[in-house]
């Protein structure tokens, strides 16, 4: 439900970057999302056309890269993949772990066209 808010924030960010780089058109936006960010990739994709309409990013492709959940065990030190609701160490099973990846909600890169049109 809050994906529209997130998408609007994303577009504001992209618009600012486009202004800064004097871009006339944004071609592609790459976002990296982890399952523990609280944002759903497909809902973000659905909200995107609403958020980008009428902006410099109107025709841009939104690419969402999924980031896996990884935890580092505080007991045995192993770094393993985990599920969103079972952040246990994949080696020793201890629950005392630290999340090292999977909560990202990051604007990774923006491709844009600058200069004048030919």
């Amino acid at each position: 439900m809050h994906e529209l808010s997130v998408c609007q924030a994303l577009i504001r960010e992209v618009e600012a970057l486009a202004r800064e780089h004097e871009a006339r058109l944004v071609e592609q936006i790459v976002v990296r999302l982890g399952p523990l960010s609280g944002v759903e990739a497909h809902l973000l994709q659905q909200a995107y056309p609403l958020a980008c309409a009428g902006t410099v990013a109107e025709s841009a492709e939104l690419v969402v890269e999924a980031v896996p959940i990884r935890v580092e065990c505080k007991s045995c030190g192993a770094e393993t993949e985990a599920k969103a609701n079972r952040l246990l160490c994949g080696e020793c099973g201890d629950w005392r772990t630290r999340l090292v990846g999977g909560d990202e909600m990051v604007l990774a890169s923006v491709s844009m066209m600058t200069g004048t049109e030919h």
Partner: protein
Amino acid sequence: MCDTCGCNVTHGNAHLVQAGGKLEKTEQGRESLTVLKNLLSENDHQAGHNREHFDRRGILAVNLMSSPGAGKTALLESTIDALNGEYKVAVIEGDLETENDAERIRKRGVEAIQISTGSACHLDAHMVHDALHHMDLNGLDIVFIENVGNLVCPASFDLGQHRNITLLSVPEGDDKPAKYPVMFRAADLVLLTKADLLPVLDDFQPQRAERYLRELANDAPVLHTSVRSGAGVEQWLAWLGTELTAQRQRLAQGETARPAVQPEGATLHAGEHGGHHHPHHHLHHHD
């Protein structure tokens, strides 16, 4: 700042910043820009500002999150009564519509500001900031922010609070932490509310709820409370007292605190406001 200093490079994104640098010109007139910025950085910036408002006045800000009807407002009502003026508190209420909750709080003699979010399913830092400008923060000890009843969206937005409390009411079922991991991972304290119903709703097993919470690698304490019977209220007030003291001690050393787990954005920007670069560990331990 954090966008350029490289402190936001993690295992997950490191490959994006290697070779080629920040900006890569691919062909004539086409630029590919590596950004690595949290999508909610605007919100997080505002949240940092809100935290400064609280910190400057020695206030502890607590964010209450739960499903609708888990008893957030009832908890606040009984908290205000039980505190009996020991701390000066104020409440920010978030709901889609109505002033009902703020009115309930005001009847207890405490200032309450209602934020009507319209259709928004969560509070954000800008809404809280607007509310702060309608409040007299001077002399306050604790500000409670009662978030919109929702176990999903509120967990993604930093408001400037120091601690997150998630309420789980017994009628909701003991597997909520497994179903809503983002929310329960964010809790610094879990209150098992309506605990007086445990004998009737005996399929709710508190140990199971707690096990699901631990499986989220969260060592937050779990308190059983009932505003009807008064059970657990004393421990809850003790927790608040400990947190307030800890907040004042931190401020005396020029530090602040964030909830133990914050959305990525808040940690990316942790260095901006002179606070710690890492979330503080709990000052309380679960046994």
